[in-house]
């Protein structure tokens, strides 16, 4: 029996900024309903990879297929159609600070799906409840929220349109461990409820172990290991081992001057 078409298929993806090579031939498949977590150190190319997938950055070379449809070089109309399949949680939340919380959450419903504002507001309250936020929060402004609440509102915005693919950019960065775990649980619950495909980038191993069905490690713009989450501790890859144990000694050398 032929294998089903991957939800996201990346082949030979390359991206450089000036002389700096950030992505150096990425090959990766993500199956429908899977939760793939890409781990890697700072500057390894994680964020650039995820921005290429969603079309915020154009690759220099390579292919990105969504449901078998090539998206590199796609025209604006087709890109807009493909974007409706995506939701994204940004590292800093990226909430629109000129709009109250409910309008942030309902943004995609109103602009993308043409839902009436009154209906969208009711739907926003439901989604906010799903991420554990009280109805009063809907009327607040993003600047009035704590970091954890902003992340939850951002998660609510990402899932409000019930996307097929959700991208999570460092979902637990900047949060205390308890709030980080709350976000992890919410991500798992939301992805499972929607039956969505999830692509997460993080350097938080606790988060990766919890939300991933599969893990891939990126180093210097290449995928150097990937496999099921259960195998990450016995990968036999010295890069992965150094990263998951957070050791300064190993093949990954940080560009820092010793004191």
């Amino acid at each position: 029996m032929a294998e089903a078409t991957p939800k996201i298929s990346i082949r030979g993806l390359r991206k450089s900024f000036g002389r700096k090579v950030v992505l150096d031939g990425i090959d990766l498949d993500i199956r429908a309903g899977e939760s793939l977590v890409i781990i890697g150190g700072s500057g390894s190319g994680k964020t650039v990879l995820i921005k290429n997938v969603i079309g915020l950055v154009s690759p220099d070379d390579g292919s990105i297929k969504i449901d078998g449809e090539e998206t590199v070089g796609m025209n604006a109309r087709d890109r807009a159609r493909i974007m409706k399949k995506f939701g994204m949680l940004f590292q800093g939340g990226a909430l629109f600070d000129s709009l109250p919380v409910w309008e942030n959450v309902a943004f995609g419903l109103v602009t993308e799906q043409g839902v009436r504002r009154t209906d969208a507001k009711a739907r926003a309250a439901e989604v906010l409840a799903a991420v554990g936020l009280a109805p009063e929060v809907a009327e607040l402004w993003p600047a009035e929220l704590s970091g954890g609440m902003q992340k939850r509102v951002s998660l609510a915005r990402a899932i409000a349109t019930e996307p097929e693919i959700i991208l999570f950019d460092e979902p637990t960065t900047g949060l205390d461990p308890i709030m980080g775990d709350v976000i992890n649980d919410l991500i798992i619950a939301c992805v499972r409820k929607l039956g969505a495909t999830a692509l997460t980038i993080t350097h938080d191993m606790q988060s990766a172990r919890k939300i991933a069905t599969r893990i891939a490690m990126i180093h210097r713009g290449r995928i150097i290991w990937h496999g099921p989450v259960a195998e990450v501790d016995r990968s036999g890859n010295p890069f992965v081992e150094q990263f998951i144990y957070g050791s300064a000694e190993g093949p990954i050398q940080m560009e820092v001057r010793r004191l």
């Binding site: 969603i54 409706k84 994204m88 600070d97």
Partner: protein, 255 residues
């Protein structure tokens, strides 16, 4: 040799920036006539650009009209031509001073705010977030500001015309001893519709330039708070220079 290289680099940089601004302007104007239209945002920008600029524009026009009457009197009294003061005030205000001064004041107030707001949205990934929510950032952020500025600058300048003339009237009648009825008669007698219209057309062009520069520099800001600060400065400086340059070209066209 180095000097020629520096001049060459500067010239190429100037051409590249001009090209990028032209493409940005073309994209913005193209989206102005294609749905969806964000009427709520256009309305909000009209309030910000027009209504909230009225106090500063009004005060500028009032004092300008008052000073103009005094200065005109100083010069014209030497030729016994005081009766021309009302005409000079109204023509200077409507054709030149109201559009240019209102444009410069609004460039400082609104252009800076646009660059800062859009620049902050850029560096905090809010513009990327718009894209992920299937919303074209140019259509959502730039088009409402362009349209609102093009529509509201003429409205502000029309108000400035009236207040500027009022300033001249107040000084002339209370301080220079002019007869109010004669002053009003002289104001209206030589004023033609084209004098007011040319000022309003100038204002619409200045509005376009202010919004374009504010949006362009904000949209392309990089590098956190410092980048937003630079974008704000560049927006005000470039829109002010463009206003003065465009003013000459338009004045020559209406001369």
């Amino acid at each position: 040799m180095d000097f020629i290289a520096v001049v060459g680099r500067f010239f190429l940089g100037f051409l590249a920036t001009s090209g990028r601004i032209a493409i940005f302007a073309g994209e913005g104007l193209g989206h102005c006539v294609r749905p969806p239209f964000y009427f709520r945002l256009i309305g909000r920008q009209m309030m910000d650009i027009g209504y909230y600029s009225l106090p500063v524009v009004g005060l500028t026009a009032l004092f300008t009209g008052m000073v103009l009457a005094l200065q005109s009197y100083t010069g014209f009294s030497r030729f016994n031509a005081e009766s021309a003061i009302a005409t000079v005030v109204v023509l200077s205000v409507t054709r030149e001073l109201a559009p240019v001064l209102a444009g410069l004041m609004i460039a400082g107030r609104v252009g800076a705010a646009m660059a800062a707001e859009i620049g902050t949205m850029r560096v905090t990934e809010q513009i990327d977030a718009l894209t992920t929510l299937s919303t074209n950032p140019v259509k959502y952020l730039v088009v409402p500001r362009l349209l609102a500025a093009i529509l509201m600058l003429p409205a502000c300048v029309f108000v400035a015309d009236i207040i500027g003339v009022l300033g001249g009237y107040l000084v002339s009648t209370t301080k220079l001893g002019f007869n109010p009825a004669v002053y009003i008669k002289n104001t209206i007698q030589y004023l033609e519709v084209i004098d007011v219209i040319s000022g309003l057309i100038k204002a619409a062009v200045f509005g376009f330039l202010i919004a374009l520069m504010g949006c362009y520099h904000g949209y392309n800001s990089r590098g956190g708070a410092q980048g937003v600060g630079s974008a704000t400065t560049n927006a005000v400086v470039s829109s002010s220079i463009l206003i003065l340059a465009a003013n000459y070209l338009l004045t020559e066209a209406f001369f």
